[in-house]
């Protein structure tokens, strides 16, 4: 009976299912159509280069009085003068007549206090510690310092002693054909008493500019290059201070700041008039780049009546890095390391005049220095329109009971993609295989270098120019307790980690010895077909193995003796870089940078084959494609065969735009566009770059090829050549 009722009920319920419920009508509010992206808004932003005003700068005669200074060395191009009391220097460029000074010229015109005036005339500033306390900085203008100057041909030796502070050191300035060379060998530093050297800053005011009184800019090696034009009221009110190789993970708990691309900076006083390029040849591991904006520490100039501060740019060399150590159950104690870093410091100052006195000239001068040192050699096969395809293989997602492995691209699927690409294009495709080791991308580690068989056979790819992506430095943990093996333990005896997105993704660094052994074994395993990431830009020491940053820098530069593809290599790897991958198209977007310039691209064009950041992850693809064309940069993509939403619950959820199928039409059009230009300029060097009008750029290559790019919303005609809006033109 019960059964019967049940079935009757079921039969009755069925018609209920059949009743049709219409979907509610969707609301149809009338929205006006959105206007197109106004590229004209962007071209005046710090993400583009501004047009030069052409304003010239003449040093006032009155400022060129050389009282207190003596000529200590000279050659055909320069004279080196020095003040024997405080070691201040002035370099006269005999070709342009311009005087570069480490002190402030006509200093009496400014409302400096006495102590401030001493700082402004000093050659160096020293910080030291005594009785476990870091003291106020002292500078060479103060009475306690005894500086003896000895010149011997082009070499001038400064011996520094101090009555109160028992730290002595000796540095030399060598006059060269291009400028001066500063050397401070570590064995010349002597701590005789109980004073401990913390840091030395040389020539704080060299290249400084009062407010906007000098037309020109500071060049910062941020991203591919940035300029800070001299202006009143810059956007920041504090000193920007940045280690060239980023924060040292060995000395930090959980912070991470950016890195600079090269150990250099530059200053221009009057564009195409005078410029200075500073390069740290040795000791960049100790160095911090500093920029002090003119919005700080303001003075009044009695002649002009202007109240402003000085734009200053200088390096600080940190020989000791004190830190606070928390002791369980007690408050923290302040630790000043016993030993200072035993590294030699060498800085070259190159002075440029006339047409070379701008960021382009600086890039070319830097290029020539690297060529002379054998770090760069001409590469006619560079910039030929190769395309870098970074392929995502697999990823692991934590599951209910077991982890779930997500195949994003198998070798077979990669071959399909390659077939499609090679059928369409004659370009050479460079593949880097990311996440093809066991268990996928986020399980990367220095010792995880076995090809994941579930994605296919590596042998399938023999016909491709492929490289295994390898980043031995970074590894990830889902929780703080499940950290990977051999992670860096910092001076606080804690694993250094960074919290990443999705709340529970922790990034760890690997200890240096394991990085080295892992890299060696991986290079061997894949016959050097490895694309190396992580080693080239961010450096950290390892106190457990007693390595300073400079030690690690030396170890890394010895580690690789073949040419391999590198992700964002700094200078120490340029000699071993076959492909420079992920070269930025912008600076790091710090607030005070006013212009974006392709310094890296100009310096390396014709010598290193470089590739852009991933275009499919770009938020302004049209603009970025034009940037690649303007910069002569090969294109790059990070792709997967499968749709990227499959990664949404994995640690790779930030790889949200990899799907090849969704992106390929865009890719094809972009590769097509770029190839036209790159074919015409392959292997060529950039010799000039001009902003014709805001948003319209002319790039001149050797051999008489010129590329015009128009980023504006309207067509532009120049010398009879019309460049369409958001387009380019090659003129041979």
């Amino acid at each position: 009976m019960k059964k019967k009722i049940l079935i009757a009920l079921l039969v009755l319920m069925l018609p209920a299912f059949l009743i049709v419920n219409l979907l509610a009508d969707e609301s149809s509010d009338n929205y006006e159509e959105q206007g197109k992206l106004n590229s004209d808004i962007m071209i005046d932003s710090p993400l583009f280069t501004a047009k030069e005003t052409g304003e010239k700068y003449v040093q006032p005669e009155s400022s060129l009085i050389m009282d207190d200074f003596e000529l200590v060395a000279s050659n055909n191009n320069f004279e080196l003068w020095t003040n024997e009391d405080n070691g201040a220097i002035r370099v006269k460029n005999l070709n342009t007549g311009y005087l570069w000074a480490s002190d402030v010229l006509s200093i009496d015109d400014y409302s400096f206090g006495k102590a401030q005036a001493r700082t402004a005339t000093a050659a160096f500033e020293l910080r030291y510690a005594k009785d476990n306390t870091v003291k106020q900085p002292v500078n060479s203008s103060e009475n306690d310092f005894k500086i003896s100057v000895k010149s011997n041909g082009p070499v001038v030796t400064y011996t520094v002693k101090n009555n109160d502070i028992d730290i002595e050191f000796k540095y030399t300035l060598t006059l060269t054909d291009t400028g001066i060379d500063l050397k401070l060998p570590n064995d010349s530093i002597q701590e005789k008493g109980d004073c401990q050297l913390i840091s030395i800053t040389f020539f704080q005011y060299l290249g400084s500019v009062f407010g906007s009184t000098v037309p020109g800019y500071v060049f910062v090696p941020s991203g591919n290059g940035g300029l800070i034009r001299f202006a009143n009221n810059p956007a920041i009110n504090a000193i920007y201070s940045q280690s060239y190789y980023g924060t040292d993970a060995n000395r930090n708990k959980d912070t991470e700041e950016g890195v600079l691309s090269l150990p250099i900076y530059g200053v221009t006083h009057g564009v195409e008039q005078n410029a200075m390029l500073t390069r740290i040849k040795s000791g960049a591991g100790l160095a911090k780049f500093n920029y002090a904006p003119s919005s700080m520490a303001q003075y009044t100039n009695s002649v002009s009546g202007i109240t402003q501060g000085f734009h200053k740019v200088y390096n600080t060399f940190n020989y000791r890095e004190p830190y606070n150590m928390t002791i369980p159950g007690a408050s923290s104690i302040y630790i000043i390391p016993e030993d200072y870093y035993k590294d030699d410091v060498e800085v070259s100052y190159t002075f440029l005049g006339g047409e070379d006195a701008d960021y382009i000239g600086m890039a070319q001068a830097y290029q020539q220095q690297l060529v002379a040192e054998g770090k760069l050699s001409k590469n006619v096969n560079s910039g030929t329109g190769n395309v870098h395809i970074d392929v995502l293989g697999g990823e692991t997602e934590s599951g209910i009971l077991f982890d779930k492995y997500i195949k994003m691209t198998t070798t077979k699927q990669l071959l399909t993609i390659n077939d499609e690409l090679t059928k369409k294009f004659n370009n050479h495709f460079v593949y880097t295989l990311r996440g093809f080791y066991n268990n996928g991308y986020s399980r990367q580690s220095y010792n995880n270098n076995s090809f994941d068989g579930s994605l296919g056979r590596l042998g399938d790819l023999d016909s491709l120019d492929y490289y295994m992506y390898y980043n031995p430095v970074e590894s990830y943990g889902k929780t703080r307790t499940s950290q990977p093996s051999r992670v860096l333990v910092n001076i606080f005896n804690e694993e250094h980690y960074i919290t990443m997105e999705k709340d529970a993704r922790y990034k760890y660094y690997t200890e240096v010895d394991s990085v080295i052994s892992g890299t060696n074994s991986t290079l061997k395993k894949y016959n050097d077909a490895v694309a190396i990431d992580g080693l080239g830009s961010r450096l950290y020491g390892d106190h457990n193995s007693d390595y300073t940053r400079q030690d690690v820098l030396n170890k890394y530069s010895e580690l690789i003796n073949v040419s391999v593809p590198m992700f964002k290599p700094n200078e120490y790897f340029l000699g071993n870089t076959s492909y420079y991958l992920n070269m930025p198209l912008y600076h790091d977007r710090v607030r005070f940078i006013t212009d974006s310039v392709p310094f890296l691209q100009i310096a390396l064009r014709g010598y290193v084959d470089y590739y852009s950041t991933y275009l499919n992850f770009s938020t302004n693809q049209e603009i970025d494609l034009l940037k690649c064309i303007e910069y002569g940069s090969n294109l790059a993509y990070l792709i997967s065969y499968e749709e990227s939403y499959k990664l949404a619950n994995s640690l790779s959820s930030h790889l949200y735009a990899t799907h090849y199928g969704s992106n390929k039409e865009q890719m094809f059009a972009q590769i097509n566009d770029a190839s036209i230009v790159l074919n015409d300029v392959k292997g060529k060097v950039i010799i000039d770059r001009n902003i014709i009008e805001s948003g319209v750029v002319e790039v001149v290559y050797d051999g008489g090829v010129t590329v015009y790019v128009n980023y504006t919303g309207s067509d532009f005609t120049y010398n009879g050549v019309t460049i369409a809006s958001m387009d380019y033109k090659v003129v041979k």
């Binding site: 079935i7 049709v20 006006e32 106004n38 919290t499 607030r591 499919n616 938020t619």
Partner: protein, 678 residues
């Protein structure tokens, strides 16, 4: 009950897991200086490429800038409290005019009407000053004299906004009545958009121990004063409230009714808001991530970007953002009070694509919208709105299977249910004949007892097999489960006095209970009826949830009743409790299976049956306690209350032991590490 307890457990587990605050780093792939997030497939915020790119940083020598307003001609006004002035900045000429110098004491809010008149809220002078287009002071609006305003109501103007008719909307610190509305000739019209308070347990608890002063200021039961107000070009008024997490953003129609929900993802640190000509809402907060948020007209989040970082010099990082406005080109101007600068952001191509798609869809241009949605997905495959849009379009095109797939990706259950409804409807239509045939056969089988006839025909006698099964000891014990449904008292008598069910069988019931519940909640129940997403399921937590709760109740009751002259032994309580859950054990699985052919239209069936099953089970448990211990009703009530108390005490005890153990463990680990590293 279950939900509450599981919630409690979840909170405890989460509290244990949260021992470090994230210091988010940017995205290594895109190299962008600040984070941009969008609403992802699980309704949470996920990474995205930049929606807005920083294009300018302005520093006019600000001291303590508090508010920004951009008029119809894109002229920018900044109220600077520190410099006691309002700056008028023309972006085209870079010309700067200082307004109200000498008059203003503490300008904290600024606004300009269609005639170019400038309204400045001055919190120290307690007035709203009005300047004409020549920047001359024309009027000052002081405290309203009307009795309606309230004798004790505070008037400390902090922000001001003006509608097309010239009505002023003034926010005042400490005035909980709402926004003060004053018309063009200075008459007080009334209060607008009063906020409500939600009295939480937490709040009451804090009030209990707070000082008199704190009780009034920090833990007041009065509603919060509105923080800021904005009016769009259709005269719609928007308000925000700082320091509340629910309903902190409101959009009012002319009647003062809030048009947006209160449960959307809101910040509790709102400082300012702006609305553009198309109705997109822009807010700024001092949250550590997501300082600037862009929302559609229904206040759904589209993008959120920017970080609060003290002393950072990167674009998109703020010391303490406090003001926001949008110019006619859609550029966002964000004022950083402590950082003393003004950062300007412009829409990237990606953001333009998103807004275009939304506008196209709303305008009914489905084909174009579809293309735009695909574009969005190519650039960010986690953009949930794009999948929902595509799902809706597929639904419109009657491609229901495609729609269902898109809704599945988007975790959009209503959409999925609607699409599934259509699919089911089509299937039923296509197979009506077969369904009818199957039904007829089934009905015939039962009505005419065809089974027996067939058995007889083939000469099959099922009786011996049935007999064998019936004599199986486990079968006998399992048979008590259905018996519990019809004859609970007899069943409990058998359990208590005849001990018909072995303890081991009780354990099997227990295991079954845990397995059935977990299986149903995670796998068997249809996708749309599941309460948690696959990725959120934690098997350990599930085991604890279902297993521990039974154990706690049984132990708790045993402890209490042994003090309370209960007759039941532990085994009786345990087996009784397990049998009490017979409705769940018997019907939950079939119910879960049935959900697979249900849509939200029939959700009431599922909900009703589910509630019935649990209510029945709980009733049974109470019955078990009563009859096992042989209690009177009064005793029973005391017993139940005490059991609950015991359960809570047990949980606390467990937690204490756990925390102590963890601390001890960490101490040991630390000790070993210290020894190894030193």
């Amino acid at each position: 009950m279950w939900k509450r307890i599981s919630l409690l457990l979840a909170i405890v587990v989460m509290a244990l897991a949260c021992f470090s605050l994230p210091t988010d780093a940017g995205n290594e792939i895109t190299n962008e200086p600040y984070e941009t997030r969008i609403v992802g497939l699980e309704g949470n915020l996920v990474a995205s490429s930049m929606a807005y790119e920083g294009i300018n940083v302005l520093n006019l020598g600000f001291n303590d800038p508090e508010d920004i307003f951009i008029d119809n001609d894109d002229i920018v006004y900044i109220a600077d409290k520190g410099n006691k002035v309002v700056y008028r900045y023309n972006p085209n000429t870079s010309e700067v005019v200082e307004i109200g110098k000498g008059t203003l004491a503490s300008p904290t809010g600024v606004c300009v009407d269609g005639n170019g008149h400038i309204y400045v809220a001055d919190s120290e002078n307690k007035k709203v000053f009005i300047f004409d287009e020549q920047f001359r002071l024309t009027r000052a609006i002081g405290r309203p004299m009307e009795p309606l305003f309230g004798e004790t109501s505070l008037y400390t103007p902090t922000k001001v906004s003006v509608d097309r008719a010239g009505n002023m909307y003034i926010t005042s610190t400490g005035n909980a009545n709402g926004v003060i509305q004053i018309n063009n000739d200075g008459t007080f019209v009334g209060y607008f958009g009063r906020n409500t308070t939600t009295v939480t347990f937490d709040l009451l608890f804090k009030r209990l121990f707070a000082s008199e002063e704190d009780r009034e200021i920090l833990y007041s039961l009065a509603p919060k004063a509105t923080t800021n107000v904005a009016i769009d070009n259709k005269n719609i008024v928007y308000t925000i409230v700082d320091g509340v997490s629910s309903g902190s953003l409101k959009k009012f129609n002319i009647n003062g009714t809030n048009l947006v929900g209160t449960d959307l993802m809101y910040s509790d640190g709102f400082k300012d808001l702006a609305v553009d000509n198309e109705g997109y809402i822009y807010t700024v907060s001092d949250d550590s991530t997501g300082v600037v948020t862009v929302r559609d007209k229904d206040a759904n989040i589209l993008f959120t970007f920017g970080n609060t970082t003290t002393g950072s010099m990167s674009m998109g990082h703020f010391d303490e953002a406090c003001g926001i406005d949008v110019d006619s080109e859609g550029n966002i101007w964000v004022l950083d009070g402590t950082g003393k600068n003004l950062q300007v952001f412009t829409r990237t191509k990606f953001a333009t694509t998103v807004m275009e798609a939304m506008n196209l869809y709303n305008a009914g241009e489905y084909e174009l919208a579809e293309k735009a949605y695909h574009n969005i997905i190519a650039q960010n495959s986690s953009f949930v709105q794009a999948y929902i849009g595509l799902g809706n379009i597929a639904q419109r095109n009657q491609d229901y299977e495609l729609a269902r797939d898109y809704f599945k990706i988007a975790n959009h259950k209503t959409g999925y249910s609607d699409a599934f409804w259509e699919i089911r409807d089509n299937w039923l239509g296509d197979n009506l004949v077969w369904i009818a045939i199957v039904l007829v056969v089934l009905v015939a089988f039962t009505l005419f007892d065809l089974k027996k006839k067939i058995y007889a025909k083939v000469g099959f006698n099922p009786e011996p097999i049935k007999e064998k099964i019936r004599s199986n000891s486990y079968y006998k014990e399992f048979a008590y489960l259905p018996r519990m449904l019809t004859k609970p008292n007899d069943t409990l008598y058998d359990i208590k006095f005849l001990q018909k069910i072995r303890f081991s069988t009780g354990l099997i019931f227990f295991a079954l209970f845990v397995i059935v519940n977990i299986l149903c909640d995670t796998v068997v129940t249809a996708y749309i009826f599941r309460t948690q997403l696959d990725s959120q399921v934690n098997i350990v937590f599930e085991l604890l949830k279902w297993g521990l709760i039974i154990i706690l109740i049984v132990i708790g009751n045993f402890l209490v009743s042994s003090l309370q002259k209960g007759e039941g032994f532990f085994r009786d309580i345990f087996i009784g409790t397990m049998v009490a859950f017979a409705p769940i054990l018997l019907f939950k699985l079939p119910l879960s299976i049935v959900t697979n052919i249900l849509t939200f239209n029939e959700a009431y069936i599922f909900d009703l049956v589910n509630i019935l099953l649990w209510a029945w089970s709980i009733f049974n448990v109470i019955l078990v306690f009563k009859s096992v211990h042989n209690y009177t009703v009064k005793e029973l009530i005391v017993n139940i209350v005490l059991t609950l108390v015991a359960v809570i005490i047990l949980v606390f005890l467990f937690l204490m032991v756990y925390i102590l153990f963890m601390q001890f463990w960490q101490f040991i680990v630390g000790l070993i590490k210290e020894a190894m590293l030193r």
